[in-house]
């Protein structure tokens, strides 16, 4: 064996040993002329296995399969995922013809063309194709394929070697896209059919879509989806505000609504109303805004006209209202005047009755007494005179009640409160009606119109109680609360349903006219009543004290204590010297004639008013003054006070038609010893003159 052979054998042995060691995985490194390299075969293998496993996993998870076509051998290799996608039997090796046959006839031509392009030596070898395949179970799946062909050689010799690709089942995606397309198409048809202008914006505010109405309105030639074009048709005065709103809506992802001017296709400025709302995906992701705009130019004009009309109308209404108010206040003034006129007429008539007729009648009565005294011997004349006297009494009585009804004097002299008290006594005496009165003092100072009205109204209300309530008692309360005067008439009688009263009922009770007059005087009426629970009617009047009519108070009338000691005592047999004071001559003379009959009484003088009385009293120094109350120049009350102050020994006897409490009170306060009624009995007067009575 030569060296060469031995060397060769040794090398062979070495090679075998190396192969053995490799197979047993006992090699760490290889050494070459350029260095030593560590081999980590196990790790490489493991990594390879891992990587393959990962690839398999990825294929399974992402549903893509690998295809590998060898152009030199004409073989085709599919990864398991491809089999799964195409439901291809695992034991059947695929070939190109079969694979092509499985492509849907509608897509086959296009797919083939794509394949040929990818394999063309002049191309870059890339393939992208989407096509349907008929699976082994006849179902149809959409496949998306991407592949790359590797070429060999240059120029004429260039030829494809391998095509490696990835394919994926995109059926679901395709279906979703189809649905989306349909829905998009539906949206477009709908949007184009709308009479509204519709715009769609992306989250950055770019206009993605405008409908047909929009294009017709603003002009078809413009590309409205081009960014910012729409801003060019907005009126410069409105642009800034509208843009700020628009940006705010984009930022806040909320809706907004604005009116703005825009230029239409004809170059006319039009008013539009724009409504923008946020668009969101199913999952709530903000997709931008969707807008709808309406041309409101006409509406704007109409509403402007309407506003103008409304303004005109309002102005007219204001004018009319003003006129009506004026008329109402005129009417109120007239009514007030009427009430006042009525009132003053009542007073005048009462005055005439009282001061004229009644005095005359009393004078006549006094004269009949004189006649009666003189005709004692003639029974016929005596009887006729008695009859006449009775008649005259009746006349006086009716005249007096007429007088009171017309206008109670007490109302003017002592105020509403006193008048109500008087009314109560009247009702008690005449009708046996129990009326309790509770009246504030302050109620004096009222304008006469008001007090007179309230008094009349109270009387009417009391008549109602008498007639309808079925009870014989009532309560009147008069009180002042700040600037209002409340007159309340309350009874515990039958009552009625006050929640449901109409004019007829009001009229029936005379309440309506009271309410109307009260309204005109600026007051109001409240009615509270329920069947079986009595009635309470409150009249509320504005309390405006009239400065010209001061309240006459009891204090003003107070005088010094009366000195009762007589300075000139009457001597026995001496006649009592009497001064007669009355403004009516017939009255004075009647009285004088009567007193003349009495031997112990001498009428020394007669005065027709208070001032005269004072003079004559100073002159004649009478022992007794018979003083009328109501007189011109100076009235009886004042005269009484002055005479009392100056000549306290004189006895003053008040005598008046005023048979009411107030006149008597006033006279007594002023210093009168007594107060008598003119139509009272003569005996009483004589007794008073003689100082026997009282």
């Amino acid at each position: 064996m030569d060296d060469d052979t031995r060397d060769q054998r040794s090398r062979m042995e070495q090679a075998e040993a190396i192969v053995d060691a490799l197979q047993n995985d006992q090699i760490d490194a290889v050494v070459g002329k350029r260095g030593a390299f560590v081999l980590r075969l196990r790790e490489v293998e493991q990594a390879l296995r891992l990587s393959e496993e990962r690839l398999r996993q990825a294929q399974r998870i992402f549903g893509f399969g690998l295809t590998d076509r060898n152009h030199l051998t004409g073989t085709l290799h599919w990864s398991p995922e491809v089999y799964r996608i195409r439901k291809w039997p695992e034991d059947r090796k695929p070939d190109l013809t079969e694979a092509l046959k499985a492509v849907h006839t509608e897509d086959r031509e296009a797919h083939l063309a794509a394949l040929q392009r990818a394999q063309s030596p002049n191309g870059d070898g890339s393939l992208t194709s989407e096509y349907r395949v008929i699976c082994a179970d006849d179902s149809v799946r959409w496949i998306s394929e991407c592949a790359q062909t590797v070429f060999m050689g240059e120029g004429e010799a260039r030829q494809p070697v391998r095509t490696i690709g990835v394919e994926r089942d995109v059926t679901e995606q395709k279906q979703a896209e189809e649905l989306l397309r349909e829905s998009e198409a539906r949206f477009r048809i709908m949007a184009d059919g709308l009479p509204l202008m519709v715009t769609v914006h992306d989250p950055l505010g770019r206009q993605l879509f405008v409908n047909r109405t929009f294009r017709i309105f603003f002009g078809k030639e413009m590309d409205w989806t081009c960014d910012g074009h729409w801003k060019s048709v907005v009126h410069p005065d409105d642009l800034e505000f509208y843009l700020s709103q628009f940006q705010a809506a984009l930022r806040g992802r909320n809706s907004f609504h604005a009116e703005l001017r825009v230029r239409d296709a004809d170059g006319q400025w039009r008013w539009i109303e724009s409504f923008m709302s946020p668009r969101r995906s199913d999952k709530g992701v903000f997709l931008g805004l969707i807008g709808a705009c309406v041309d409101i130019t006409e509406r704007k004009h109409t509403s402007q006209q309407l506003e103008q009309l409304m303004e005109d109308l309002e102005r007219q209404v204001r004018e009319r209202t003003f006129q009506a108010e004026q008329r109402a206040s005129q009417l109120q003034a007239v009514t007030l005047q009427l009430t006042q006129a009525e009132e003053s007429e009542r007073r005048r008539m009462a005055q005439v009755l009282h001061d004229g007729l009644q005095q005359l009648l009393v004078g006549a009565q006094l004269s009949t007494r004189v006649i009666r005294a003189k005709a004692q011997d003639n029974p016929d004349i005596a009887a006729a005179t008695d009859q006449l006297s009775e008649l005259i009494d009746e006349c006086i009585s009716s005249s007096r009640s007429l007088c009171h009804e017309l206008s109670p004097t007490v109302l003017y002299q002592s105020g509403l409160g006193a008048a109500l008290h008087w009314l109560a006594s009247q009702m008690r005496d005449k009708h046996g009606f129990a009326l309790s009165v509770e009246a504030d003092d302050l109620a004096c100072g009222l304008p006469q119109t008001v007090s007179s009205f309230l008094f009349q109204a109270a009387r009417e209300l009391l008549l109602n109680v008498q007639k309808h309530a079925g009870v014989g008692a009532a309560h009147i309360q008069l009180r002042q609360v700040e600037n209002e005067l409340f007159l309340e008439v309350r009874d515990e009688g039958r009552g009625f349903d006050s929640s449901n009263i109409d004019r007829e009922i009001l009229d029936g009770f005379g309440l309506f006219s009271i309410r109307e007059r009260l309204d005109l005087l600026g007051g109001r009426m409240q009615i509270e009543s329920n069947p079986g629970q009595g009635t309470c009617i409150t009249l509320v009047a504005e309390f405006v004290s009239t400065p010209g009519t001061p309240c006459r108070r009891a204090e003003d009338l107070a005088v010094q204590p009366r000195i009762t000691e007589k300075a000139t005592t009457r001597l026995a047999g001496e006649a009592i010297r009497v001064l007669l004071v009355d403004d009516f001559k017939v009255m004075r003379e009647g009285l004088a004639a009567l007193l003349k009959e009495e031997a112990d009484i001498e009428v020394i003088a007669q005065a027709s008013n208070g001032a005269e009385a004072l003079e004559l009293a100073r002159l004649h120094r009478p022992q007794v003054v018979i003083m009328d109350v109501t007189m011109p120049v100076m009235d009886g009350v004042e005269a009484t006070r002055r005479i009392g102050a100056e000549m306290p020994w004189i006895r003053i006897i008040g005598l008046s038609m005023h048979d009411q409490v107030s006149a008597g009170d006033q006279m007594r306060r002023a210093g009168a010893t007594m107060f008598l009624s003119k139509d009272g009995s003569l005996e009483l007067l004589l007794a008073a003159v003689r100082g026997e009575a009282g």
Binding site: Q14, A17, N24, Q26, D28, A29, V31, A36
Partner: protein, 110 residues
């Protein structure tokens, strides 16, 4: 023990036993501390200690430090043991785990 220290120890051991007539001269080519190289070193050490006490000289060459020696010895892979016994040189490739075959190749009797 690091590879370098190990080699020094082995070298010291060789030096100590140098004047004893060395029947076996071993040169072990390894690649760093790779698993097969480590196993080969251990197996050689066990053999020297157990059967050839004082009768061997050992040199360990790391090809990652110095590959030229390996090239000069015609070593292509590691681990490779070049054993010189009475002028007869044999090379053994692998981790020397086949103790029986290794002994037989060196002609060592139990």
């Amino acid at each position: 023990m690091s590879d370098k220290e190990h080699r020094i120890n082995m070298a010291e051991a060789s030096a100590r036993e140098a004047y004893v007539a060395a029947e076996y001269s071993f040169t072990l080519f390894v690649a760093g501390n790779e698993s097969n190289s480590r196993a080969a070193r251990n197996n050689l050490f066990i053999l020297c200690e157990s059967s050839l006490r004082g009768r061997c000289r050992v040199e360990v060459v790391d090809v990652l430090d110095d590959f030229t020696a390996a090239v000069n010895h015609g070593v292509l892979v590691t681990p490779t043991l070049i054993a010189d016994h009475d002028g007869q040189v044999i090379s053994i490739i692998g981790d020397l785990s086949d103790t029986a075959g290794f002994r037989a190749a060196l002609g060592i009797q139990d």
